[in-house]
Symmetry: C3
Subunit: 138 residues, 3 copies
């Protein structure tokens, strides 16, 4: 419990698939994740509340990975990564959203395992945790 | 000391008010905070050094909460949250600044309590901690 | 091992130089770093894979430091900071990339020391860690 990891993802890997494989290999079922680096052809999503689905966009080329922030919890019994990214182009302009996939050029990643039991279940069309209830202290 | 929390803020809550209420309920007086999600009508600020005040802007609609980063310390004797956010629109363009308020659609939050005594006091028109002094080792 | 720090960098300091001095003073050889604040005349870089060098850009004026995320490891025997930033202008538009230098107006920084041995060595024209090898479990 509470293990911490810092590592570089090998160049050429698909980042979401690789990190999920890392979580499974280490049996991490809850945690936080942070990272910086540079990604190729990242695909990001924006959740459209009316259409109840992600609108996705692929940014062609290589972008600075300015932020990668997310968490690990359980979905359908398995470790699941929820990650958002911001991405910088050569002019320094930023783009981003929900990370769907990207090819790694450089990715320096920190993961901290947490002692939480958080499981995603379906709320409408999103998989979410039960919300916290401040009044009951849970 | 050193408690860690990961939770989802209920939909519809005003995020700054809700998180401050969480800090008080848990008696967290110093810490860091990270988050991702989706916010409605976020209001962000830019501190204008000449006017010595925040210029604020409300972004109408729902935005991906690409990053929420901030800290907890004491201001006027009470836990105080200082948070900056970046926000993505449906085109994947990013906006952001100092978070003033926003309505939660989804907010997945991590808070780590720290064993620090940091109190904000007035420096000009901002409430800040005393700066660190590297030479004295403090 | 595992020390945590939260502090404000004094106004007017060059942030990368100051934080590196902090790392040396505390003998921190691996870690993560997070921050928010406001920076003056930040210079950011985008790594051009064809030219194999950073394209740099100085943003004139004061910007909200919306995110500072990075890590600490060893390069040439000394603690080395690798940091990316996103920066907001008065319209709330964001810019960013690899942080080269910036003058501090306000910088509230969190550093957590990690028990890792990560050393940068030259891969092409970048100083990187050896990539993790999932199959060997390392």
């Amino acid at each position: 419990m509470g293990k911490k990891f810092m590592f570089r993802v090998p160049e050429g890997e698909e980042i979401v698939e690789f990190l999920t494989r890392f979580l499974v290999s280490q049996d991490i079922r809850a945690g936080i994740i942070l990272g910086v680096g540079s990604l190729e052809d990242p695909e990001v999503g924006y959740f459209d509340r009316e259409k109840k689905e992600y609108i996705t966009k692929t940014l062609k080329g290589t972008y600075e990975l300015v932020t990668l922030i997310g968490n690990v919890s359980i979905k359908n019994g398995k470790p699941f990564l929820h990650v958002h990214v911001s991405l910088g182009d050569r002019e320094g302009k930023l783009y981003g959203g929900h990370l769907i996939r990207a090819k790694v050029f450089v990715a320096e990643i920190f993961i901290e395992e947490l002692d939480e039991k958080l499981e995603r279940r379906k709320f409408g069309s999103l998989y979410l945790w039960d919300p916290i209830n401040l009044d009951s202290g849970s």
